[in-house]
Every structure is written in C-alpha cells, then in structure tokens.
C-alpha cells in the first residue's frame, strides 16, 4: 500500500528513459553527468517530497516557490547584513520556511479556504515579503557579495564514495553531493513517517476520507497544519541547498517551482484526489524531469523542440501510469469475481 505498484511502473519508465539517453545522448552516462543530475535535482526532489503531503490531503501548495525565496532571503540577510554565524542562520531559515508552511495550513483550517486559493494568496504575500526584506535592495553592493560562511557553503560538498568503497579502481564513479544524501535522508524519514507512525496513517485517513477521519477522532486540523508545515520545511531545506550552491539568494528564486514540484509529485503517483501515494514516487518523478532536461540538452536538441518533447514525455509518463492502473483494475475485478 505504501509503495504502490505503480511506483514500480514509474521506476520502469524512469529506467527506460535513462537507458535511452545513456545509449543515444553523448556523455549522458558519465560520472560527471550523474553528479549534475544529483546536485541539480535533489532540491527539486525535496520540494516534491514536501508537496506530496498537501496533495495526499487532497490539497495543494502553490506557495513553495515563494517560501524557497523567503528562506533563501532570510539566510542571505542574516549572513550578509547581520553577520549571524551559519549555525544560527540554518535553523532560522528553516524556521521561517516552516512557519510560512504552518501559516498556509492555519489559513486552510481556520478560515476554511480552498488550499488552492489560500496558497495562491500566500504566494503573493511571501514573494512580497521577500522583495521588502531583500538585502539586495536594502544595501547596495550586497547583490555582488557571495555568502562565504562555511556552515552554509559546506552544504555544497561532494563525497568520493567510489574511492571509499574501492569502486573507483574499476570505473569512474560519480562524487555524491551532500544534497543528494540530504534528499535520501528526508525520503527515508518521511516515507517511514507515512508508513510506521500514527501521524502518517492519519494523513492517509484524512486525505482518503475527511469525514471518516474526523469521526474516528483524528485531529484533522492538526494533521492538516502539520502537512503544510512539512511542505514548508522541505521548501526551506531546498532553499538552503540552493543558497549553498549559488552562494547567494535572489528575489526571483523559486519562481515556477511549485508547478514543477506538483508535476513531479503527480508523475510520482500521488493522486490529486487525495489519500493515495508515497513520497518515494515524487522523488523519482523529480529526477525523471532532470533526466529529460539533461538528456535532451546533451542530445543537442534545440531549446524549443525540448519544450515540445518535455511536454510529450510528461504526457507519456502519466498516460503509461494510467494504462497500468486501468489494466490492474480490470484484473482485480476479474480476480475478485472468480474468487467469490
């Protein structure tokens, strides 16, 4: 249940795409390209993992792009304007992001706003907040000052696992970025939260049947707020990874990421009608988008044709998933009937 069979199908689709590019795109199956893939898309996977929670609750969070910018700007200001040490900046930025997520949840729960409209409104609010607290606008010259605090920049570190396990003697093994391990850790934590904790079970219950969950005594409000808070928290982590990678933050950081993360989550098998999915699928969905972008670029496909192909592959991915679901439903129906 926690890992849907369609996740396997997605893995298959991912594998096929991967294999295709490995065979036909020059320099796709190289260590450095794998490094690019891992360091360039781990943050998106993290966003998609976070986005899964609202979607599991039959909601949506459109504000994560703005939350990324907000957390990024908090880190930027604290480091460059106030010279706060990095070990305080990191939790502060995460706290800001989590708070922003919590506010989303609170608006949805207490004002009974549709998640779509509530987070659309906070998207504007958070982006406006970023503009107004932007150190780039407040202090001239900061826009060309990189962040050098080791606590932050060290998030962009690579580990030579290949040498560590001795694989490098045989093949050129990619160095793994820290962000990839952060993503893996979040994936492991949230997947097990969903499967093994009461909170995780409550998420599925609330998303699957809100009224039933409420009548079963589940605190649906707290569950909802927590889900949006987790989404905000993940956006905060993604922001820190980006800030470390870019050594700065901009006001436009995160623009458009919400739709990419939603796409990754839905490709990853999280149903928009709630209660179905995992966080494993969305992570794969995010890397699938990465494989497509890198692969098509390496194939030398023009940027315009790339857009067309990206759309087509997106359709292919969900169409394939849909096909499998339909087939399985048919088989289950027959199976149940024959057993009865």
């Amino acid at each position: 249940m926690s890992v849907r069979p369609t996740t396997l199908a997605l893995l298959l689709f991912f594998g096929t795409t991967f294999l295709f590019f490995s065979l036909f795109a020059p320099r796709f199956a190289t260590a450095s390209n794998m490094e690019n893939l891992m360091s360039g898309f781990s943050f998106l996977a993290i966003l998609a993992i976070g986005q899964s929670f609202p979607i599991l609750l039959r909601g949506i969070d459109l504000s994560i792009g703005a939350i990324v910018a907000l957390a990024g700007m908090v880190a930027f200001d604290l480091t460059l304007i106030f010279h706060v040490p990095g070990y305080l900046v990191l939790p502060a930025a995460l706290a800001a992001a989590t708070l922003a997520g919590t506010l989303n949840g609170a608006l949805i729960v207490y004002l009974r706003l549709q998640p779509f409209i509530a987070t659309l409104a906070t998207l504007a609010v958070y982006r406006g907040l970023v503009y107004s607290i932007s150190g780039r606008q407040l202090v001239r010259g900061l826009s060309t000052t990189p962040i050098t605090d080791r606590w932050i920049t060290d998030l962009e570190t690579y580990y030579d696992l290949g040498s560590a396990v001795g694989l490098s003697r045989f093949i050129k093994f990619p160095w793994f970025p820290l962000s990839f391990f952060v993503m893996l850790a979040l994936l492991a934590v949230f997947q097990s939260v969903l499967i093994t904790t009461r909170f995780g079970r409550d998420i599925y219950a609330v998303g699957g049947n809100l009224e039933a969950a409420r009548l079963a005594g589940i605190n649906t409000r707290r569950t909802t707020i927590a889900a949006y808070a987790i989404c905000g928290f993940c956006a905060g982590i993604a922001a820190l990874i980006l800030v470390a990678r870019l050594t700065t933050s901009t006001e436009a950081l995160g623009t458009g990421m919400e739709l990419t993360a939603i796409a990754a989550a839905v490709i990853g098998g999280v149903s928009l009608s709630g209660g179905v999915g995992s966080v494993f699928g969305p992570a794969i969905g995010a890397f699938l988008l990465g494989v497509i972008l890198l692969g098509l670029t390496l194939l030398g496909v023009s940027q315009f044709v790339q857009q067309i192909l990206t759309g087509a592959i997106l359709l292919g991915a969900i169409g394939y998933d849909r096909l499998l679901v339909v087939r399985r439903q048919r088989r289950t129906a027959v199976f149940l009937a024959e057993r009865a």
Binding site: P26, R27, R140, P146, A252
Partner: protein, 371 residues
C-alpha cells in the same frame, strides 16, 4: 551628449570612446563593474580583447575564414572533431536572440564549431544545471547571460577548473572569468536620465515602468536612472515607480493608471523598450505625443522606428549583434588559441559603446545594425 558608434572600420573610435568613458567614470563605478581593483589593467585587457574580437567580427562579416588560427584552420567540418560552444540565455527575448545571431554569424564561418542556444528559463538553478552539463560535454567555450552575478559564480569557477573559458554577456559575475562583454546598464541609464531631464526642461514629474526584482539588470538600470536624475536634474521628481513585468500590455495599463493620479506627468522611463512602447501607445491614445517625454532602454528595431516616427523620445541603443560578434570572436580566439581558462588571473572587460538614440541621431544607425 555626443553620439558615438563605430562602423566596420571604426576601431579607433571605439577605443577612444571606451577610454574616455572609463577614465571619467572610474570613480563612480559601483556594482556595474564590480570588484575590480585595477581598472586600468582590466581596461587594457579589454582593449586587447576588443581588438581581437573586432578582427574576428570583421572576419565574420566578410565571411573570411583565414583569420582563424592554424590549429583549427580550414579543415572540412567533421562531427567527431568539431568543438562545441553554447550560449545560455536568460529567457527567450529579443536581446539574447540578437546576441545569438551575432554569435552564430561569427561561429558558423568557422566550420568546425557546433553552436547551441540553451534556455535558462529565467531560473538561476536551470542556468547552473546547464553550465554543468556543458562542462560535462566538454564545451570549448560558454557564453552566458547570467541572471545573477553571484549565483552563477560557483559554476563559472567550475568551468574554469575544467579549462573552459566563460564569456559573460551583460551581467558580470563575481568570479573572474575569460571575458565580460557588457551593454552598459548603469551609466546608460544615467545618460538616459540626463537626456530625459533635458527634454523635460529640467523639471517636472516622471514615472518609471519597472521590472519585478530578481534580475540584476533591473537594479542597475533603476539605480542608474535615479542617480542620474539626482546628479543632473535634481528638480525632477519621480512620482511613480510601478512594476509592469517587462510587458508592453501591462505597461499600457499601469501608465494609464499612473496618469489618472498624476495628470501632470512629464516623463516616463521604461526599463526596457517594450514597456516604453507601451507608454507610447498610451500617449498616442491620450494625445500626449510630444508632451510626454518617453525613454526606453535596449534599442530594438521597433523602438528605433518609433523614435524616427517621433513617438518615442529616445532609448539607449547598443549594437547587440555586434556585442554577440565580439563575444564570439573572443571565444574563438581563446578556444582556437588553446588558451586554457585557468590561465586567466584577470578577466577581460568590454563595455559596449552605446548611443542615446533620439530623433536627431537615430538615422545614423545602419539598417544592418538594427535588431
């Protein structure tokens, strides 16, 4: 101010202009040309690069290929031996499109260079990812229109380590790299402020049709304009500074609204030409042509035509094709001369000359220079 551009053999003109500009403005330089501790050395380097570039550009224009160094030469193009150069743009827009044309003009004559235009989708993280892909691909040179100076610096450093020269267009990066070819935003906007103020007679109210924050060009142009007004026309008041998303239609709407609150508005500065042309549309509709002083920035064809027709007051014109050609020429020289990027302790700077094009001067811009 004096108009100055070059034609195909106007090399000395360029040098002279650039020199005057740098000498007189050295002390004002803020973030436009950042972190350089030795302007003069840079300038000399820029000069050298520029000369080389113009040579290349000329070669491109005349279709000659013998300018290229022997190591690449005129061998027939073969897929396996071709070298790759790519340009990562900010997002689809007229300016990078014109650069790309200029770059391609030069590169395609070289026979052995494969050129690819990549789209940054207005997202720094996409640009970063694309640079790393290009490094992986083993590109011979990367042209980059960075969205941000700092954000792309780590990637540029990586490219440098990999021996790939990076040539930035318009926005400099905080990491030293092969060369930087810039359309002058800050000083250009100052000059616009001066010209606009002159046209308004040194007093009155102006509005800025601005872009949303998040890209450094916006800040440089806005700061340049505000500083320019302060310096040259302290009596002119900025009564409105509203965001119109680089967009002509939004600019129409926003200016219409601003005019309701400020019926005495005397001038409008559009941070790009599209927004300025939107202002022209409004002026035409309200019969304010001639009364409302409107300046744009960039100098695209539509804007120049509008100036010639007497609708738009002026814009900052830069020969963007030429800018692309210069960048391409520099890249070709570097790549074919086998100059590794790691050899650059100091980066080359090339500030593109520009004109504040008005009705009087616009005719001097040749058709082939219009983009």
């Amino acid at each position: 101010m004096r108009s100055h551009f070059w034609d195909r053999n106007g090399r000395s003109h360029l040098e002279e202009t650039a020199q005057t500009r740098l000498n007189t403005r050295e002390e004002d330089m803020t973030e436009a040309t950042t972190k350089t501790n030795d302007q003069r050395r840079n300038f000399l380097k820029g000069l050298a690069l520029g000369s080389a570039a113009i040579g290349g550009a000329a070669a491109g224009l005349f279709g000659g290929i013998d300018v290229t160094t022997g190591s690449v030469g005129v061998q027939p193009a073969r897929a396996a031996t071709n070298i790759k150069m790519s340009f990562i743009q900010w997002q689809p827009h007229t300016v990078p499109a014109a650069w790309s044309k200029g770059i391609e003009e030069v590169l395609k004559t070289q026979q052995v260079i494969d050129y690819q235009l990549l789209d940054g989708q207005n997202k720094v993280e996409v640009q970063v990812s694309l640079i790393e892909t290009l490094i992986n691909q083993g590109a011979a040179a990367i042209f980059l229109q960075p969205i941000d100076s700092v954000a792309l610096a780590p990637s540029i450093a990586k490219a440098k380590r990999a021996g790939i020269p990076v040539i930035t267009l318009n926005i400099d990066a905080t990491e030293a790299h092969a060369a930087h070819v810039e359309m002058n935003h800050y000083f250009g906007a100052m000059d616009i402020a001066k010209a606009l103020g002159d046209a308004m007679g040194g007093k009155g109210e102006v509005a800025i049709l601005n872009a949303p924050p998040g890209i450094i060009i916006r800040d440089q142009r806005t700061n340049g304009f505000v500083d320019g007004l302060k310096q040259h026309h302290p009596d002119i008041k900025i009564v409105a500074d509203q965001v119109a998303d680089w967009d002509r239609k939004k600019a129409q709407d926003v200016l219409n609204t601003i005019l309701v609150a400020n019926p005495n508005l005397g001038g409008v500065y559009g941070v790009n030409d599209s927004m300025a042309l939107g202002a022209v549309d409004v002026a035409k509709e309200k019969g304010l042509v001639g009364k409302l002083v409107i300046f744009g920035n960039d100098g695209e064809t539509d804007a120049l035509e509008s100036i010639a027709a007497g609708d738009l007051t002026g814009t900052q014109y830069t020969d963007v094709y030429q800018q692309g050609r210069l960048a391409a020429a520099a890249a070709t020289v570097l790549a074919t001369g086998l100059v590794p990027a790691t050899a650059f302790g100091q980066q080359g700077h090339l500030l593109m000359p520009y004109v504040i094009a008005t009705k009087d001067t616009v005719g001097q811009i040749q058709p082939s220079q219009r983009w």
